[in-house]
Subunit: 567 residues, 2 copies
Amino acid sequence: METPLRVVVIGGVACGPKTACRLKRLLLDAEVTMIERGSLVSYGACGLPYYVEGVFSDLEMLSRTPVGIPRDADFFRKVKGFKTLTGVEALRIDRRQKTVRVKHLTTGAEEDLPYDKLVLSTGSRPLRPPISGLELDRVWFMRHPEDARSLVKRVEEEGLRRAVVIGAGYIGIEMAEALIQRGLEVSLVEMADQIMPQFLDYEIAALSAKHLRQKGVRVILGERVLGLEGESKVTGVRTDRQSVPADLVVIGVGVQPNEELAREAGLQCAPRGGIVINSHCQTSDPDIYAGGDCVVNRSTDPACRDLLFFPLGSTANKHGRVIADHIAGISSPFAGVSGTAICKAFDYNIGRTGLTEKQAREKDPDIVTAIWSGPTHPHYIPHNRPLVIKMVASRRDRKLLGVQVVGPGEAAKRLDVAATALFFQAGVDQIANLDLGYAPPYSSPLDPLAAAAHLLLNKMNGIARSISPLEAKERMDRGDDILLLDARTPQEFQKMRLPHEKVVHIPLGALRERANELPRDKDIIAFCMLSMRGYEAQRILNAAGFDRVWFFEGGLVAWPFEVWTAI
Amino acid sequence: METPLRVVVIGGVACGPKTACRLKRLLLDAEVTMIERGSLVSYGACGLPYYVEGVFSDLEMLSRTPVGIPRDADFFRKVKGFKTLTGVEALRIDRRQKTVRVKHLTTGAEEDLPYDKLVLSTGSRPLRPPISGLELDRVWFMRHPEDARSLVKRVEEEGLRRAVVIGAGYIGIEMAEALIQRGLEVSLVEMADQIMPQFLDYEIAALSAKHLRQKGVRVILGERVLGLEGESKVTGVRTDRQSVPADLVVIGVGVQPNEELAREAGLQCAPRGGIVINSHCQTSDPDIYAGGDCVVNRSTDPACRDLLFFPLGSTANKHGRVIADHIAGISSPFAGVSGTAICKAFDYNIGRTGLTEKQAREKDPDIVTAIWSGPTHPHYIPHNRPLVIKMVASRRDRKLLGVQVVGPGEAAKRLDVAATALFFQAGVDQIANLDLGYAPPYSSPLDPLAAAAHLLLNKMNGIARSISPLEAKERMDRGDDILLLDARTPQEFQKMRLPHEKVVHIPLGALRERANELPRDKDIIAFCMLSMRGYEAQRILNAAGFDRVWFFEGGLVAWPFEVWTAI
């Protein structure tokens, strides 16, 4: 009788259980052991902010199946057929002997687990910023169900009121919303001059931050946190400019891969961290696989050679399948990641895929961008909402490079279509041609993503001459001798305005007749509520012989700065 | 001075205005005239069922801009810069003289409009079924705002109670929902043995029809309507099996292209109807373009040579852009259609793209299909809902051929991703690799579309052995000596069951221990609520040495037939 294949999986949260479960379905006789340092396995850590927010009240749901069965060692043994050891830490790998030295944390006993194939799914851990006071009471990293449980318990029992969240990445924003929804006062402190600095371009981040502020979050940008204040309990957060009072602090400044075990075993790791894997998730030792938050990924864009640390539950899940398949002799190569991410922030959906403008410019300055804003549905459909899309493309070959979406409108659908298009190295022309599902409850006849592609094509073809809201604001602030042409209706103009003395209001319908009121010796920057009438104004003025006309993209909906509104 | 280019656009609803508007933005000096037989132009006909339903109450919204400006001749002149003639019918085209003979319907006067470029956007008209009684009062075709206005008015004023909708295509289903929401009794009569026979496979249609019935629609399938009954007002619908009482009748049995003008001018039309165009929307006369509902489209799949009559507002909009661009000297070739369509039916979203199984089998029998059902979000997210996805692929090259989605879960997003993947001739393996946006408010870590692709791959790789619900039902009905293995929890089993005497209930967690209770000489068909535990049961039994094990796809959620439920 053949000896069954022995597989040891280190790490039991996401990629680990996925690998082990699938492996047992593929190789019915394999002897699979999953070890986990903590007491819980297979929990949905992404759900923690939603528990804090009160979206669901039973934290146990995060570690149960949809029908309520705990995903514990017993479940994995009975249902999935593999062994799970909790409270067991992997100390080191002996690649020659093919064993893992493990320690049972409750007893302190150590043993060697032999393996034929080893899977590292050791995950990541929160970055600890180099500041004082991290050891104080009422300071949380949001990583484990226990973090969320204790935070909620103490907020309720001790009536904590003032929260400071350090770091405006995804976790920071989700936690800021969660704590506001719980009724706390929330300050969000970010060192960069924008929220989500790794993920969004400045103006998209500014638009998102504007929404956070409207929802009551005090967003503090461009301030470095120097330390946490307080004796035993935290009482404040000291930045390089101020001290922000705090009853509790949540730190979300990023995560780093748990790669030490791999590094010590001599496996190749990326210079900036993360285990390096091939498309089958093999490390530099072909008998050792790695997946999930502890690895770096390649880009789905074959032209991109960067290694991307982009830890996400979705990717961890894919890695698990790829690893199990390869161990079982099935080739299911992993194509890499496109840099897709999405985050809910109150009524806004904020997503991105591919490269931001900033990232794209670092690789190749010859790019073109467009910011489009518009409705997601016909205007007679009540759930119609505005959406802002920023599209980045290569000017030379007209390939899509990246998309950012933000706003109350249905953003996730457009993000996923954009991510799919990127995966296939789509040209912008192709995006305009996609045959997407249309019926009034679901979309405008022309999908927002196609509309954004049209704007970009119009720019590339020299028909639309537009500038970004950022450039418009710079020209306004600089005191340039420009004229801002508001092409909206009088009713709209009564309700909301751009607060600038150089705004001239001529509704689009009157522009052909009244064009001669405008000066020919000034730069005219047209705009409207969204993107369309500003563009039409530009074309109407072009037809009337005006050469120095632009419009600013996205209109007032995408304007990340102040506007004047009638009370 | 150069003579400006004269462009005549025939038809003012969707493609026509889009063409004229864009053309004036591109060619600032062009002389563009749009003619329309009716009195309204540029209205959103797709919105009619939603007006009937009461989703919005001001029918004028359909022919106004989002800020409330009527899209009439005055608007198009002032804002867009072209001439619109309403109440003007095109009688014939003189291609040699390059003129269109038109008739002013109010005065009866005729004249010739000269053109350099002519655009046919003549749309489509409802098919009139060959039955008696179409001339009766209270019989509606739902095509023009006036149809919706008069229907709602008379339902309200005359207290009409019983509606019969003839034809279970998209319009029929939307109207059935609209009338139920208005409080009427609704029968939906369809000649085929399923709803949406052109669009869906039988079991997906059956699942949708089950939902329509749950919402109170009396769905009558497989009955041919022979005539409408009544003296002056309609009183009933006579089929080949029964007479259905009716206070009003809505007919939605399809549309046909208005191609007569083109055909009489000698332009190439498809044998089964529709003007033939090239990728620039040029007809067989290069100075005459056509777009919108009056044309046939090519498929985005280069291997497909069929001409597709697939009239949709989204496609009409794209055609308009392509036509205007080509007239202006810009090449923006239209890639064709992928056969994407979506329809809301109460709480269900029903969509499809590419080929159905039936359509695919007609082209190449070597295909493989999978029906997956599962949640759209993590189970702790309250707006998590189930979704059913049917995927059709070529077995030889593993290319995706088509996708159908149905259920209360977020379907439109997955449909659009599938349509995008199809556009790029994706392989099923690639769909499993897409980097789609993941955060708990938006999706499960493994997107439903990727999960469906996994099932299909597992089938192609011989790991999952599954049959469709249809095949399972056939085997049950045939009295085959099979055993149905319900792998759900006791709690689930208490609430809902498959009503069949051969069901054995063993929860998945007990199956490894209790496998020996099962017979080895019978075909075992496992199932669960969704798709996963049935599959796991198959693998567990395989591991225990059972060879004759399958699971039926999609579980009870995708089961289109009766189930027993505890009250």
